[in-house]
């Protein structure tokens, strides 16, 4: 077990380091980070033509003439110590801003995951157990629509029907509990639909396994067959998918935060992209990649906790 944890941990760290190199490379090998663009976007204005003196100053201040690997080394060395550099636009440390904005995104994500699981898991089990019933068909069709619905469009549908039509929930901002409802529902819908479909098909797959027949042949009640023998097995693939879905949700939060003017990391990222605030973009993307890697690590570990075939190897 410890060997397994150690191996997964090492792999996670490697992936995060590689991801940071990739992010840095993408953002620095391009015209987006020349002294002129930085000057135009963050300091003097788009219409101005920078003077040679200004260019020299910016190049010197951010050490832009250094070779790329040196710049990366400097950045990652500081990043490990919690310093992600200064924002071009806000002129404050990137880490500071991220710290301010992160709780809003974490709250939104946690609530959405909880909401989606709370609905998707029982629904998926019920659909599988009552296979081909009216309920099953209804559940599958709803899930199909929820999966195919772009989150930003769903957000507007919700706004049109609930905020404008009935004036129930605030349209935008992060002020009170009701303001959480629409963003959470928007984010949870897609994720919940995918989880429900996986839960259903995994449950169906498990129910056709030989060991379920064995359990029935023992004379167990059907509820016992489902709860003691089927559920745990059926959860295994769901855990993996929930981990992957979490990544989709981190991406989706950019859109949802934009629509609902939610003051989180996603909104910060997209604003920084338009402002060409490269240190900020870099910091946000690194944070997202790290969160995603961490979630996947947790998923792998909980998988091992659930499955003895991973926890203990084959007896030699």
């Amino acid at each position: 077990m410890w060997r397994f944890i150690f191996k997964r941990l090492a792999a996670t760290i490697l992936v995060v380091v590689a991801a940071s190199i990739l992010t840095f490379g993408i953002l620095h090998l391009t015209p987006g980070t020349t002294p002129v663009t930085i000057l135009k976007y963050a300091f003097i204005g788009l219409e101005e033509i920078p003077t040679d003196a200004e260019i020299t100053e910016i190049t010197a201040r951010y050490k832009l003439s250094d070779p790329l690997y040196k710049q990366y080394y400097r950045w990652i060395k500081q990043a490990v110590q919690g310093n992600l550099g200064d924002s071009y636009v806000y002129r404050v440390p990137v880490a500071e801003l991220i710290r301010l904005r992160f709780p809003a995104t974490a709250l939104l994500a946690a609530l959405s995951v909880a909401l989606s699981l709370l609905i998707a898991i029982p629904l998926g089990i019920l659909c599988a157990v009552k296979r081909n019933s009216f309920f099953d068909h209804l559940g599958r069709i709803s899930a199909l629509f929820a999966v195919s619905m772009p989150s930003f469009w769903l957000a507007y549908l919700l706004i049109i029907s609930f905020s404008l039509g009935f004036d129930l929930f605030p349209v935008a901002g992060f002020r009170s509990v009701p303001s959480l409802v629409l963003p959470c529902v928007t984010l949870a819908a897609g994720m919940g639909a995918v989880t429900m479909r996986i839960m259903r098909s995994s449950m169906l797959d498990v129910m056709s396994q030989d060991y379920i027949l064995t359990a029935r042949a023992k004379g167990l009640y059907e509820t016992g067959v489902v709860s003691k023998h089927a559920l745990k097995n059926a959860f295994l693939p769901v855990v993996t998918v929930v981990g992957l879905q979490f990544g989709h949700m981190l991406g989706g939060s950019v859109i949802v935060e934009t629509v609902f003017a939610w003051p989180g990391i996603g909104k910060l990222l997209i604003d920084s992209i338009f402002a060409k605030d490269i240190p900020m973009v870099q910091g946000c993307i690194l944070l997202i990649a790290m969160t995603y890697a961490l979630v996947n690590l947790l998923v792998d570990l909980s998988y091992a906790l659930m499955d003895p075939r991973i926890r203990y190897g084959r007896e030699s």
């Binding site: 056709s208 396994q209 030989d210 060991y211 027949l213 064995t214 359990a215 029935r216 042949a217 023992k218 004379g219 167990l220 009640y221 003691k228 023998h229 745990k232 097995n233 659930m306 499955d307 003895p308 075939r309 203990y312 084959r314 007896e315």
Partner: protein, 322 residues
């Protein structure tokens, strides 16, 4: 193992047919099967894969998927199984009729300890406490010659070898000392040495608990060791049934003859062709396309099963000739 044909049967199957609905077609996997199992008797059901023998066993326990339907009659100790309530069936499964499923590799729940899986059936039917159940399982395991039984209880299926898993399944099937044990391909996926051991264990268990046993196998040599009587199935039908010694000494149906001739010790001759798909049966006798002695009449007339000797039944137009 004495044949007690005089007493009344423990299980009595009459004209049992089991259908499956697959998309818009209906397939008949078991076709008008009638047979009896008497107390303390071992009946072997022999046939190639897909002939319907496993479906027959699952029909007895009513454990077939929802797209199936059984007709006819299965009487167990006065209970008509095909009309029994779900609760009656549940009480019967595991306690009255035990099953030892095929494929040891997939029939145990991979996430549960094997000891727990055997204890479950005891606690369900015998109303015993946890400790008592634990003790019984250790006893069962040691009777089945599982090394270090107390320790094995806490193992997960993947930590055991195939032979050990097969023993766990056997212990599960016999735990409540059922009157009838359905054993489905007990030697599947085991090597020759283990096969012999498992066969011996099965014989011992049945004798010890004075249970009857329905042994499902494709392997005539397993049937020869254990069975009092043998029923041979082909394409959903019983084609020959009689005492073990009688069938082995003088098989009357050409299919039975071919099966015996295909045994390693008896010529090792493979049967030409394949068993037919249940959805596309040949006209007339179902074995006729592969039969050595078939004649034109066989392709047009479907033979009925007839008694050719004392308690010996054969489904062949030329049962007397061969």
């Amino acid at each position: 193992m004495v044949t007690m044909q005089a007493s009344s049967p423990l299980l009595s199957i009459r004209a049992l047919s089991t259908y499956f609905q697959v998309k818009e077609t209906v397939v008949k996997a078991v076709d008008e099967v009638s047979l009896d199992i008497y107390p303390q008797e071992v009946l072997a059901l022999v046939g190639e894969t897909g002939c319907g023998k496993s479906v027959l066993a699952l029909s007895i326990l009513r454990l077939l998927p929802k797209n199936s339907q059984s007709e006819g009659s299965i009487r167990y100790k006065g209970l008509e199984i095909l009309e029994a309530s779900e609760e009656e069936l549940r009480k019967m499964r595991g306690k009255e009729i035990g099953m030892i499923p095929q494929s040891q590799a997939t029939s145990l729940n991979p996430l549960l300890k094997v000891g727990w899986q055997v204890m479950e059936v005891l606690q369900l039917h015998k109303k015993v406490g946890k400790l008592e159940a634990q003790e019984s399982v250790v006893n069962l395991f040691s009777r089945l010659q599982l090394p270090d039984p107390a320790k094995r209880m806490n193992y997960y299926p993947h930590q055991l070898s195939g032979g050990m898993r097969q023993r766990v399944l056997v212990s599960m099937g016999v735990a409540c000392k059922p009157n009838l044990i359905l054993v489905d391909e007990p030697t599947k996926g085991l090597d020759a040495v283990l096969r012999k051991e498992v066969v011996n264990l099965l014989g011992e268990q049945a004798a010890e608990n004075s249970s009857s046993m329905m042994l499902i196998t494709h392997d005539f040599s397993v049937a020869a060791v254990l069975a009092d009587r043998i029923a041979v199935m082909y394409a959903g039908e019983i084609v020959e049934m009689g005492s073990s010694s009688g069938i082995l000494a003088k098989p009357r149906h050409p299919y039975t003859q071919s099966l015996i001739d295909s045994l390693p010790g008896r010529g090792f001759k493979p049967i030409p062709g394949f068993s037919p798909s249940l959805s596309l049966l040949p006209p007339g006798c179902r074995f006729q396309p592969r039969c050595r002695v078939a004649c034109p009449k066989c392709a047009s007339l479907h033979p009925e099963i007839t008694e050719t000797g004392v308690n010996h039944y054969v489904r062949c137009l030329y049962a007397d000739r061969s």
